[in-house]
């Protein structure tokens, strides 16, 4: 927000263990989280202990806007399921992640928005075409 870091501040869940466990706990609360570096203001994903941009031990949890642009996409067509796209999404917050779009027509440069899907005991951040923000 106004602290100079991308995304918005979010409290880290307590007593969850390492960075991956914290990320999973935030996802379960419906928050797509990444980390911001207090030293260089860089956006960091996947979660880790120190900033890979500057090396500082100054990472804090941030909530993503959940909106981004497709950087690349590949369509897989399983025999027993509908075709789906595996995508690389450049989040507006300044980081990239892999995800899935269940619309095989998705293309590079399309705008997408996060949605959450339960997968066993985990929550997966999937994306869909962003109709309201093209």
């Amino acid at each position: 927000m106004t602290d100079g870091l991308p995304g918005s501040a979010v409290d880290a869940p307590e007593h969850v263990g390492g960075p991956h466990a914290a990320y999973q706990a935030l996802l379960a609360d419906g928050v797509l989280a990444f980390q911001g570096c207090g030293a260089c203001s860089g956006a960091v994903f996947p979660p880790r202990g120190r900033c890979p941009h500057c090396g500082a031990d100054a990472l804090s949890w941030r909530a993503s806007t959940g909106r981004g642009t497709v950087y690349s996409a590949t369509v897989l067509t399983p025999r027993d399921k509908p075709a789906y796209a595996v995508v690389l999404v450049d989040l507006d917050d300044g980081y990239r992640m892999m995800s899935r779009v269940d619309d095989a027509s998705v293309a590079i440069d399309d705008r997408v928005v996060v949605r959450f899907e339960a997968a066993g005991d985990q929550t997966l951040p999937l994306f869909e075409l962003d109709g309201g923000d093209r």
Binding site: P46, S72, T74, V75, L76, Y84, L88, M98, I108, Q122
Partner: protein
């Protein structure tokens, strides 16, 4: 002694061999194939296990691979290196062995690899089990192919590269394989065959993907002085470079630009050579997009120009640059970590032992290994006595 250029010409490959390749069937282990290749490479070098004082290996089938192989062969090495950068490992081993030999840490290095993935699993086994969380696998990415497909899709978007350009790479590899009796796939293959093959992860079809075979390979390297007393013409180390910028494909800023753009120029600088000096090129072609990216990043053509470069049989027999003259991972052999075969074929071409696929007047070869998801890149330049 702090200038790496001092390593130029200081070591040489003196023995190379493959194990049995293709589908060896049940009852043959990955270690059996590694041992077989290593033994044959020592035979080729005119050396025995008693001469070996350094062992280099990497395996997706058993941990501590140098320790395992040394016990199997009765070697008690004083230098042991299991550098694990996927399929590029064995090219890294060449550079490490050169440094170790030059520093007096060892004299005769055995680099060996084997895999029975086709007979044992029927699928690609390219690295060990991952016990840390993945931020890619849960989304249904079929790795490694989807990672390479994402690079191919972006390259097509940025540079106008087409599926026909990708298919040209597969067809050229097949035409080379048709001249190599050891190649696994030697039937005719057309551009349309590749385009119409089953799509695995768009834009890559099954014919854009490497084979799944069994196989092993080994390389023996020693000092240039000792090499000159051995039966085969020494194939000299001219320069080598290693780099990796990411592990996962989502973690590199530009998926169309690999760390080969760093290793190529550095290796050429060390060797005092330029791409135009290279007579034969052996690239790790796990997927057709690899060949395109590496031709660009190593400097054989400009960025984004590889599609035109390979068109019309540009890298096929009779083309303007001989690339993957054994048929590559696409048509010759791909047991999971192909890198060592780029060294074996380079050596055979420079020795003039390549039979029907021999490149005329081959004095300089470039071998390039890839590991992971376009992650680890290692380039090694080799030459015969005329360039040392």
């Amino acid at each position: 002694m702090n200038d790496e250029r001092a390593l130029r010409g200081r070591t040489a490959i003196v023995g190379v061999a493959e194990s049995d390749l293709g589908e060896v069937g049940p009852g043959v282990t990955a270690l059996d194939l590694t041992e077989q290749a290593a033994g044959r490479a020592l035979d080729d070098a005119g050396l025995t296990v008693a001469d070996v004082d350094a062992v280099f290996s990497h395996s997706a089938f058993y941990p501590m691979p140098t320790v395992v192989l040394a016990e199997r062969m009765g070697i008690r090495p004083r230098y042991s290196d299991s550098t694990a950068t996927g399929g590029s490992s064995f090219l890294a081993h060449v550079r490490h062995a050169t440094a170790a030999i030059e520093a007096g840490l060892c004299e005769v290095a055995l680099i060996a690899y084997g895999s029975n993935q086709r007979s044992a699993a029927g699928g690609l086994i390219s690295s060990g089990q991952n016990q840390i969380p993945s931020y890619e696998v849960p989304f249904g990415a079929r790795l490694p192919v989807s990672a390479y497909a994402l690079a191919a899709a972006r390259h097509m978007h940025d540079y106008g590269t087409t599926r026909v350009h990708l298919a040209e790479v597969a067809v050229a590899a097949r035409q080379w394989a048709q001249r190599n009796p050891a190649a696994f796939e030697r039937g005719d293959l057309s551009i349309d065959d590749v385009l119409n093959a089953r799509m695995v992860s768009s834009p890559l079809t099954v014919r854009d993907c490497c084979l799944v075979t069994d196989g092993g390979g080994a390389v023996v390297i020693t000092s240039a002085e000792r090499a000159r007393d051995l039966p085969k013409p020494p194939i000299y180390y001219l320069g080598g470079a290693e780099a990796h910028w990411h592990m996962n494909i989502s973690q590199t800023p530009d998926v169309t630009l690999t760390a080969a753009s760093e290793t190529g120029p550095r290796a050429f600088d060390l060797a005092g050579l330029a791409p135009a000096d290279v007579d034969v090129v052996e690239l790790y072609d796990a997927f057709t997009i690899n060949t395109l990216l590496f031709l660009e990043d190593l400097g054989f053509c400009g960025k984004g120009e590889s599609g035109d470069f390979v068109s019309g049989g540009g890298i096929a027999p009779g083309g303007h640059l001989p690339v993957n003259t054994n048929g590559g991972g696409l048509s010759y052999c791909h047991p999971g970590m192909y890198g060592i075969f780029t060294l074996i074929e380079s050596t055979r071409q420079l020795r003039g032992e390549a039979g029907d696929r021999q490149v005329e007047d081959a004095h300089v070869a470039l071998a390039h290994g890839n590991g992971g998801m376009l992650s680890s890149q290692v380039t090694v330049l080799l030459g015969d006595a005329s360039v040392v």
